[in-house]
Amino acid sequence: MSDDTILLDHGSGGLASQELISGLFLKYLDSPVLKGLEDSAVIDNQPGKLVFTTDSYVVDPLFFPGGDIGKLAVHGTINDLAMRGGRPLCLSLALILEEGMPLKDLERIIISVAQAAKESGVPIVTGDTKVVPRGKADKVFINTSGIGVVDASLSLSSQNGTPGDAIILSGTMGDHGITIMTRRAGIALEGDLRSDTMPLHRLVDTILDRYPDSVRTFRDPTRGGVATTLNEIAAASSLTIVLQEEALPIRAEVRAACEILGLEPLYLANEGKCLAVVNGKDADNILELMKQQDEGKDAVIIGRLEKGKAGRVLINTPIGGSRVITPLHGEPLPRIC
């Protein structure tokens, strides 16, 4: 049994911990900095300003179509760096494991972390593992922190919005949220529902390389969805956002699942999408550039920033009406009938 599951000993700092580190973590995570097993990582100085972020991942289920908690933990933190224009340099990986967690699940997660880090070109350079007694955590919780650099001249912020700016959404919305929700509830729906988890730093870099002065900010609409993030942008910029409902990109499968469960895609989490607020006159060019990248192939302009009541988000409905979009209140719950 001890060979198959996580034991409290694995977090003791003793021999079992060392076996876990060298036998599992270092087997897959091959950064030379990490392999030194020092108390902290030394990172070469880079010109520019530092960006630093941290995020914890507690998703249930651990594995889902399109990804798993490991991939999410790498992509999520990379994306948080990228949204401020940061080029990610490195990540930390801290695990809180529940006693009794199957080792094969942990191995699967570490392989996924390693693969995501490699594909993103962002190494894991430091880490930590703790084990808590059974029932004190839910299988595995992951924290990743990330450091990146941003050009000294760049200052992306949600406060930068200006009337006339366009809002580009880099692809379809709600894919991650609906996938997790239906999996968690054990609802089997026909159609290919899968998480959209992916790193966006290359997409951001490509845009900033060509249009450094036209981008006001990037935001990733994770929990709370596009609706909540847009409310934050409208509030920070003290402007009104007007969306066109017909422009919103939603995959047919996601829309169908939302219709069945009474959910709105605008409030569902995304893990591989960004909202770009850009100068209106360059919007079409930036959109074209985004569409040429894999990460942005389904990008569309969904709305504009306008003078008006600060912090308000309106949507024009296809029939010529309009309504207010508020931020998310509480977890999205399926409706009664």
Binding site: A252, I315, T317, I319, G320, R323, G330, P334, I336, C337
Partner: protein, 361 residues
């Protein structure tokens, strides 16, 4: 998506909207009875395109909203019994009783599971033989047949650890009682779509006999706008009748098989409605033959009378007598994240709809 896209097609709906603008020949005050209609009207921005002279008020058709605080208290007490696992539709999770909600009970250790069908609750019972699974039945004719079918399945499989706390309600009787209220001054009903799939469009004939225009409509923009046009026409020409423009789902007689199943399992009982009080024969209780599945009998749960929260106007709102912005608590003490009254809790609640979609309009 079939049956959705064609009814959202703006090239079809925009001409209807133009027609709607010309359809009002005398003042029309309509009630949309069903909570899903309330939501669909807001979601499509229909309030923003209503012609002058047309007014829509929301009725008592949000099942969570009309669930009384004393029932919520009983639900929470039930959830806190050791060995009980309650199964609910998601809307019920944050509904306040007199002292907190099921969400608060969960934080204290109660087992509350959100299910998508009562059959999922039965599955929970099969998978957790050590617990008693109690499905909290909240809803109208739309959800009752599914609950009846689940009780029947549990009966045939002889499952011991499953029961239902029924606060199921019926629509036509209470709606008729509501229409007697002279303050309401309604001259037409946008009749529910899903409820009507079960009870049939014919169920609204008594309202026509009282002089009310009635249109049974679906939930897509074309359904809604067309429904409003026809209601305005009926009122304008004083020719009340039941028109069914949702024939893809609703028939005149309804779903007889479902109705027979409901009648097999349930019998009429007096039921308390939040804001409306106890209405005779407006609820459904589990018949004696199936009493083993009746949670109230099994656990001897008593309903304790409660007072409505101070200042809350949900009662008047449920009766269409006032609108949410008139309530002193609306948007300040009462919002979706901290609801005081039930109309703010359910996504179908009138206050939630006003807050979410129409706060500034």
């Amino acid at each position: 998506m079939k049956y959705i896209d064609e009814y959202r097609d703006s090239s079809l709906v925009k001409p209807l909207v133009e027609k709607l603008k010309k359809s009002v020949t005398k003042p029309v005050r309509l009630m949309e009875v069903c909570g899903t209609h309330t939501m669909a009207i807001f979601r499509n921005g229909i309030r923003s395109i209503l012609p002058a002279g047309m007014e829509i008020v929301s009725g008592p058709g949000c099942p969570v909203c009309v669930t009384s605080a004393s029932h919520m208290d009983a639900f929470i007490a039930m959830a806190e019994i050791p060995g009980v696992r309650v199964a609910i539709f998601g809307d019920l999770f944050r509904v306040p009783g007199s002292h907190g909600s099921l969400a608060n009970a969960t934080a204290r250790g109660a087992l509350v599971e959100v299910v998508y069908s009562p059959m999922d609750a039965l599955e929970l019972a099969r998978n957790n033989p050590e617990d008693t699974v109690v499905f909290l039945g909240v809803g109208f004719e739309t959800t009752t047949p599914g609950i009846a079918a689940t009780i029947l399945a549990a009966y045939h499989e002889d499952i011991d650890n499953f029961c239902v706390f029924s606060t199921q309600k019926v629509i036509p009787g209470p709606l008729e009682a509501l229409m007697q209220d002279p303050q309401l001054n309604i001259n037409g009903l946008l009749c529910p779509g899903h409820v009507s799939a079960i009870i049939g469009a014919g169920a609204y004939q008594p309202f026509v006999d009282q002089g009310l225009a009635c249109v049974v409509a679906g939930f897509e923009p074309a359904d809604l706008v067309n429904g409003l046009i026809l209601l305005a026409k009926q009122v304008g020409s004083n020719t009340p009748q039941v028109e069914n423009i949702y024939p893809r789902v609703v028939s005149w007689d309804g779903n007889r098989r479902a109705l027979a199943m409901v009648d097999q399992i349930f019998e009429p009982t007096d039921m308390e409605w939040r804001g409306l009080g106890v209405i005779e024969n407006s609820g459904l209780a589990i018949r004696e033959k199936y009493q083993k599945f009746d949670a109230q009998k099994r656990f001897d749960i008593e309903l304790v009378p409660t007072e409505e929260p101070k200042g809350c106007l949900c009662g008047e709102i449920l009766k269409g007598q006032t609108v949410p912005p008139q309530c002193p608590l609306f948007g300040s003490r009462c919002k979706p994240s901290t609801p005081v009254g039930p109309c703010m809790v359910s996504s179908e609640g009138t206050c939630a709809a006003y807050y979410k979609y129409g706060r500034d309009s």
